[in-house]
């Protein structure tokens, strides 16, 4: 290639979505959404209930198949890739409704997630799980980061709601992915737990890029670098927290209806 030596080689963004569309029957849940998550930014995705946020996350993660549009992960097209292959390419997600391995210990939860993205030979895969020191060490580091080290032997089902939400995030981190899709990480959390979770998410920016679906406006405006607003499946605004705060369309469509929105929840 004959690019001038002083010209920076363009680095593809962690996540680039173009014209993504997803319909359920006649209902367009996601309607031509385009957005870009830049490296090491926290990009919030907000919108009233039913705006298509979770459907969009589902399409991006690979749980739902998009009808049209493209999803590029670090420049590679992953639109048609099944979800487990996207994980290996660095895309990890957490769920709005806690989805953990309830009957396994906290430690085994994280170990299972760490082991999922290892490249095992048959012989290694059939070795007793306890012998894989590297997996266990990685799991240990994630437990420490989550502040769940002291609960490692507890069954996931026995954790408090706040702890379960942290484990939920931990399972996303365990894959080692650097592009995280977090679907309402603070859902149902108490005030104190939210503070801890916010700090945790804020810290993830060091190593990851995040697309964050969140209803908690204080949190969103506080830690996001940029915000994209969805309504009826389509993007109505995108910009910095200040720009979004001042945007008249957003005020009318979303913030103005916030009270009614909360009544629904």
């Amino acid at each position: 290639m004959s690019l001038p030596a002083d010209m920076p080689v363009p680095v593809p963004p962690p996540l680039d979505v173009r014209g993504l569309t997803k319909s359920f029957g006649g209902f367009r849940a996601v309607d031509g959404v385009s957005l870009t998550v830049r490296a090491n930014e926290i990009h919030a995705l907000i919108g009233p209930n039913g705006a298509g946020k979770s459907s969009l996350i589902g399409c991006l993660a690979g749980a739902l198949r998009a009808d049209a549009g493209t999803i590029a992960l670090y420049g590679a097209d992953v639109t048609r890739l099944p979800l487990h292959r996207r994980v290996r390419k660095g895309l990890a997600r957490s769920f709005q409704i806690t989805s953990i391995f309830q009957e396994m210990t906290v430690e085994d939860n994280v170990r299972s997630a760490v082991a999922a993205v290892h490249d095992w030979t048959w012989a290694e895969a059939l070795m007793p799980a306890s012998r894989h020191g590297d997996v266990n060490a990685q799991a240990e580091a994630i437990l420490a980061r989550l502040g769940l080290g002291h609960r490692r032997a507890a069954l996931a089902a026995e954790l408090s709601h706040g702890e379960q939400r942290r484990l939920e995030l931990g399972l996303a981190l365990a894959s080692g992915g650097s592009m995280l899709l977090l679907d309402e990480p603070t859902a149902g959390m108490g005030v104190d737990d939210i503070r801890g979770m916010t700090a945790l998410i804020d810290g993830l920016r060091q190593t990851c890029s995040l697309l964050l679906v969140e209803h908690n406006m204080g949190l969103v405006l506080g830690i996001s670098d940029r915000i994209t607003v969805l309504r009826q499946g389509a993007v109505i605004a995108s910009g910095t927290p200040d720009e979004i705060r001042r945007n008249e369309t957003v005020k009318a469509a979303y913030l103005g209806r916030k009270a009614g929105d909360h009544a629904q929840r």
Binding site: A63, P82, H84, V87, A92, I100, L126, A129
Partner: protein
Amino acid sequence: MTPVVLTYAAAVIALPVVAPSVPLATEILIFALATLGCHLLLGYGGLLSFGQGAFFGLGAYAGGLYALYGSGPWGANAIICVLGGTMVGAVAAALVGLVAIRRVGAGNRGHGGAVAFLMLTFAVAQVAYFAAYNMTGVTGGENGLLDVPRPPVSLGGAARFNLDAPLAFYAFVAGVLMLAVALLDRLVRSTAGRALIAIRENEGRAAAVGYDVARFRLSVFTLSGGLAGCAGALYAIFLGLVPLSAIDVMQSERIVVMTVLGGTGSLIGALLGTASFIMAADALSNIWPHWPLVLGVGIVLIVFFARGGLWSIGAGLVQGLAPGRASRRGKPAPDGTIGLQPGARS
């Protein structure tokens, strides 16, 4: 040696003494192999197959035909007979799985896929039965495959062990079973086994952390078909014939019933289920021709009151007797209805 392997070893030694006859003990071990396959599929793959009888029957015909017509350096060897049956069962299950597992899908919520899998395997069992019924030239049709000889164990081209004596054949079957149990016990404690548990616990999340759920399930299904085929081949040389009933739908049902009866909490459940089913059938069939009714009631009771099967009842009793807070063993029933476990969560 793990507790599971030790338990099987003890049972294998005790059975010829405890059971009414050596052939009955042999039958228990043979069916325990098929039940182990179904157990693995249900307990670790989260899939219920009504097609295990087809793989059992295919293994039986393969083993029977080999014993009848096999000749030359590769002929007349019980080891090859069993390996052949295993291969045929595994390949058949892999082919069925390629179609049926796809229907289950990965990360789908609800049980639509699992039901589709169950129905597809049921259909396969039906097709296999009618194929065997019609291909009289190969299978003997309704009369069955007759006069199947029992090949000896050959090593290095020479017959080493004659298996004609009941106890000799029992020892051979016991060897095959112990080998299978040792392998399966290792599998369920391995990293791959942990992955299977994760998939069983929460399939959507397992896929989301990067597991290829369909591939794991196909592997388990192939393994379960292989175990059924292995049992089938042993059954053929055990009976000295392959009756058409070896491949009928009842055969599939029997394997499922023995699996559910024993429970999927531990590999030991497969042995408990098989032994109690076959011993009960043997005892009851002498007294009352409608004995399956009793078994039916037993299954209903298990499903309603002890979803973990005989294994969980046994484990519950042991836990109840043990002082202090007993550790949780195995997996509770999907809806957690093991009333016998102290400290069971709501």
